[in-house]
């Protein structure tokens, strides 16, 4: 158990360091069109790799945080059955299998990813605020929650950049209005997540981060299958 705490302590530091590098690189490198001078051109494969790495880390942190929470509160297992009714993202239609995900159009899949990421930005922020006020938790959990909320925010930006790149390359159509949909989703889901308990929140986010990771990987292997598919 002490090992887990230690791991939990080391994790945010490492992840933070990695994320600092990752996030800055993702944001600092503007997408260039027509090979403009002074622009750091990234290929679509590279963008996908970065985003997938990001989502993997996000899922890892969410998993750790959920495990810590579970250990702290020792919830009964039957909560799993009850959780599905409480997730505010249940309304978002997501493919529940590999084949379904592969059959789905690229644009739809991309939209699903973006919807998920948008839906979790505010709840995680509030979750972190709630943890910070609770002195019961150690600082590592509080830091992790902060990282998680930041990660979701950065990952959404990254995925939006990938979408722009894909639209530029003509891989997907311009039907995705990345700016408009988040606000729409946010308005519809604004009330539900406030009723969720912390633990349920973590459970739901853990599930959704895994969905995002999977979808991104499938998308990448469908569009740019080289380099590790």
């Amino acid at each position: 158990m002490v090992d887990r705490v230690a791991v939990g302590a080391v994790w945010p530091v490492l992840v933070g360091l990695v994320f600092c590098g990752e996030l800055t690189t993702v944001d600092a490198a503007p997408l260039c069109t027509n090979a403009q001078a002074g622009c750091h051109v990234l290929s679509l494969a590279n963008l996908f790799d970065r985003v997938i790495q990001h989502s993997a880390r996000m899922h890892g942190i969410s998993n750790d945080l959920h495990s810590e929470f579970e250990l702290y509160f020792l919830p009964s297992k039957n909560q799993i059955g009850r959780v599905s009714r409480n997730c505010h993202t249940s309304t978002i239609l997501t493919p529940n299998g590999k084949e379904n995900a592969q059959r789905m159009a690229r644009e739809e899949l991309t939209e699903v990813i973006l919807k998920l990421l948008v839906a979790w930005r505010d709840p995680l922020w509030h979750f972190h605020q709630g943890l910070a006020h609770h002195h019961d938790f150690n600082n590592f959990s509080s830091n992790k929650s902060l990282e998680m909320s930041d990660m979701v925010h950065e990952l959404r930006k990254g995925v939006q950049k990938v979408v722009e790149k894909m639209q530029t390359l003509g891989i997907i159509s311009n039907s995705i209005s990345s700016l408009a949909s988040p606000e729409v989703l946010l308005a519809s889901n604004s009330a539900e997540w406030r009723l969720m308990k912390d633990y349920d929140l973590l459970y739901c986010f853990r599930r959704d981060s895994n969905k995002v990771q999977n979808y991104l990987k499938i998308l990448k292997c469908r569009i740019v299958p080289e380099h590790g598919c």
């Binding site: 020792l74 059955g81 529940n96 590999k98 990987k217 598919c229």
Partner: protein, 655 residues
């Protein structure tokens, strides 16, 4: 239901603990307590599945109802569930229990029966069409009469029950061996399980390698990493290792099964040979160097010998081929020495050589004679001694003569006197000490002298000018008498006889020819017994010349042959012109002619008997004898060399 009771017992218990923990958490110092409690409850399973609860551990005495043992998905696309009837053996028959599942996709979802039964394993298989990820499933067992065995803990989502198949094609390659030859590194590589769709990105797998020694029980686990190869460091040579691998989904907890073990063993590689050639190379190198040094020493032997052991000066005689000095060539040598080639060398008495090996260091100047060869026969010993202008061609040179250029330098000059400017008295001494000429020469000279001009002879006694060069002196002189005062009477040898003749035939014209000569003859007559004494210093510090002319007592007319010695008492004699030592010295003691009887029988050599108190030599009386017998021209017979003695002939010399 019992099942629910059983199931709820831990639930309530856990809830109670949870309540207490929540209360405990509120206090600031609760973290430690929390940690302790959590460590004690580590056995709790991961969320999403109740299968991992150890039913046996929990309920040891209570009856066990039918339950699901495990649900596993291998590829995140399908999954299987296994159940057990528990202690209800009457329900163990196939079909007695039925599986129902609830897929919570919507609030209105219903329980459905297992799509595919495998009764042999008591397994329910959910294929792809019935599998949905990220959607909670709840499993239920129903018996006859709608008896339901349900545990809320048996709800899960598919991604949480994924246990990938073990990796395949586990293989290893040797990376390197440490320089010490004791340990090595191994690279292990494998393939992801074929059931896991890693290529589509649907599953992201990370692997864990474990290894152990063959006979140990503890496995060493390496770091979990997502790549399909890993290096094992620090394996020991000679030991056998067992390696296996398992994998799991990234960011998930449940590992799959272990693969089959692979055995690694590297036997010892002989590396000793690297040191053996090194020693051999060193040994051969040293031997080669030694042989090279030996060769150099042998080839340059002469030079080295010259450097290390400089040659000892060998005896040399100018004008004589050194080849003749070698053994077996004495005939030629003596021929040369006795006047064959270059005028020869004066021979000496054989007995002289025995004592004085240094006689060999004789330089013979055979070439340049500043005098004509004609006067050779004319000059007497005295002339030679005095260095008069009629020097003998074959004159003896002292070893250290600087007037003679001797080609060979290592001829024993070290033992000679300083040749810078020999003092005249020394020269005089040396001249007087020279032995007399052989009798035959004396005789011949005597004859010639009589026939020669007197002017020559007149010059003989004069010693005012001193010897021109002391070079023209004989090496030895004959001591005829010793004065009691310590002076030695030397016989002038041939000159003495000449004087006798001149004195005998003194004529007025002889006298009148040269005033000086006449005076001299006058003096001669007057000073019958005036001798120029040369004191021989017995200590050998050199020769001192006594300037005083002393008289010597007239020796008895006929020395008794039996007498051992004669004592000669010097008589004071007024000194004549020979006041100064050097100038007016006459190297010879000129006896009066009437006293010739004393000198007739004078032998060339005499034996020094002893020294008296005045440091004068006491000599044996010269034996009465006819003029010394004519020494054979070539006294050297086979056993008796005259000119030169070789060491092997030394033994043949008769004393």
């Amino acid at each position: 239901m019992q099942r629910t009771d059983v199931s709820t017992v831990p639930h309530l218990h856990l809830n109670g603990v949870r309540q207490s923990i929540i209360m405990a958490v509120s206090s600031p110092s609760s973290n430690l307590l929390l940690l302790l409690l959590i460590s004690s409850l580590d056995w709790l399973s991961t969320p999403g599945s109740a299968f991992l609860i150890d039913w046996d551990h929990m309920t040891s005495s209570a009856p066990l109802e039918p339950h699901f043992t495990e649900c596993i998905s291998r590829d995140q696309e399908t999954f299987r569930c296994w159940w057990s009837p528990g202690t209800f053996h009457n329900l163990s028959s196939p079909g007695a229990l039925r599986v129902f599942y609830l897929k919570k996709e919507s609030p209105t979802s219903e329980w459905k029966e297992c799509p595919e039964y495998i009764h042999s394993n008591r397994e329910c298989f959910f294929d792809v069409n019935h599998t949905s990820v990220w959607i909670p499933y709840c499993m239920q067992l129903r018996g006859q009469n709608n008896v339901t065995y349900f545990n809320e803990d048996d709800c899960f989502t598919v991604e949480n029950i994924v246990r990938p198949d073990p990796p395949v094609s586990l293989n290893w390659t040797l990376l390197n061996i440490s320089p010490s030859g004791l340990s090595y590194d191994v690279m292990v590589n494998w393939e992801p399980p074929p059931s896991a769709d890693v290529g589509a990105g649907w599953m992201r797998i990370e692997y864990e390698i474990q290894y152990r020694e063959r006979n140990s029980t503890n496995w060493e686990a390496l770091e979990i990493q997502p790549h399909t190869q890993q290096t094992i460091f620090g394996l020991h040579i000679g030991k056998e290792y067992e390696v296996h691998i398992r994998c799991r989904m990234q960011a998930f907890v449940k590992f799959g099964e272990f693969s089959d073990s692979v055995f690694i063993q590297v036997t010892e590689i002989p590396t000793k040979e690297s040191t053996i050639p090194l020693t051999l190379v060193l040994v051969f190198g040293i031997l080669g160097i030694l042989i090279l040094i030996m060769l150099i020493v042998v080839s340059q032997q002469h030079r080295l010998m010259m450097v290390l052991l400089p040659p000892v000066p060998a005896p040399k005689i100018k004008g004589i081929d050194s080849e003749l000095l070698k053994k077996g060539k004495l005939d030629e040598l003596n021929f040369i020495l006795t006047g064959g080639g270059m005028g020869g060398l004066p021979t000496y008495a054989p007995d002289f050589y025995q004592d004085e090996p240094w006689v060999e260091f004789i330089e013979v100047d055979a070439d340049d004679g500043d005098s004509g060869g004609k006067e050779d026969n004319r000059g007497s010993d005295t002339q030679r001694l005095l260095g008069l202008p009629h020097p003998v061609s074959h004159r003896m040179n002292m070893g250290c003569s600087n007037a003679i250029s001797f080609p060979d330098d290592d001829s024993g000059r070290a033992s000679c006197y300083d040749a810078d400017l020999p003092e005249q008295d020394t020269l005089m001494l040396m001249a007087t000490l020279l032995p007399g000429q052989p009798e035959d020469e004396e005789a011949s000279l005597d004859v010639e002298e009589r026939a020669s001009e007197r002017s020559e002879r007149s010059l003989v006694p004069t010693q005012t000018g001193g010897p021109q060069t002391w070079v023209n002196t004989d090496f030895y002189a004959q001591v005829s008498n010793v004065m009691p005062s310590g002076g030695v009477v030397l016989s002038p040898g041939q000159q003495l006889r000449i004087q006798e003749s001149t004195s005998a035939t003194e004529d007025e014209p002889h006298k009148g020819k040269e005033g000086e000569d006449g005076d001299e003859t006058e003096e001669l007559k007057q000073k019958e017994l005036q001798f120029q004494l040369l004191v021989v210093d017995p200590e050998g510090n050199g020769y001192t010349t006594e300037s005083n002319v002393r008289q010597i007592s007239t020796p008895p007319s006929s020395p008794a042959p039996g007498e051992g010695y004669q004592t000669i008492h010097p008589q004071p004699v007024e000194t004549k012109p020979a006041a100064t030592a050097e100038d007016n010295q006459s190297p010879y003691i000129l006896p009066d002619s009437p006293q010739s009887q004393f000198f007739a029988p004078v032998a060339d050599y005499t034996v020094v008997q002893e020294l008296d108190s005045h440091h004068s030599l006491l000599l044996n009386p010269p034996p009465r004898q006819s003029p010394p017998p004519c020494l054979p021209q070539h006294p050297l017979k086979a056993p008796m060399p005259v000119g030169y003695i070789t060491p092997d002939l030394l033994g043949n010399l008769s004393p």
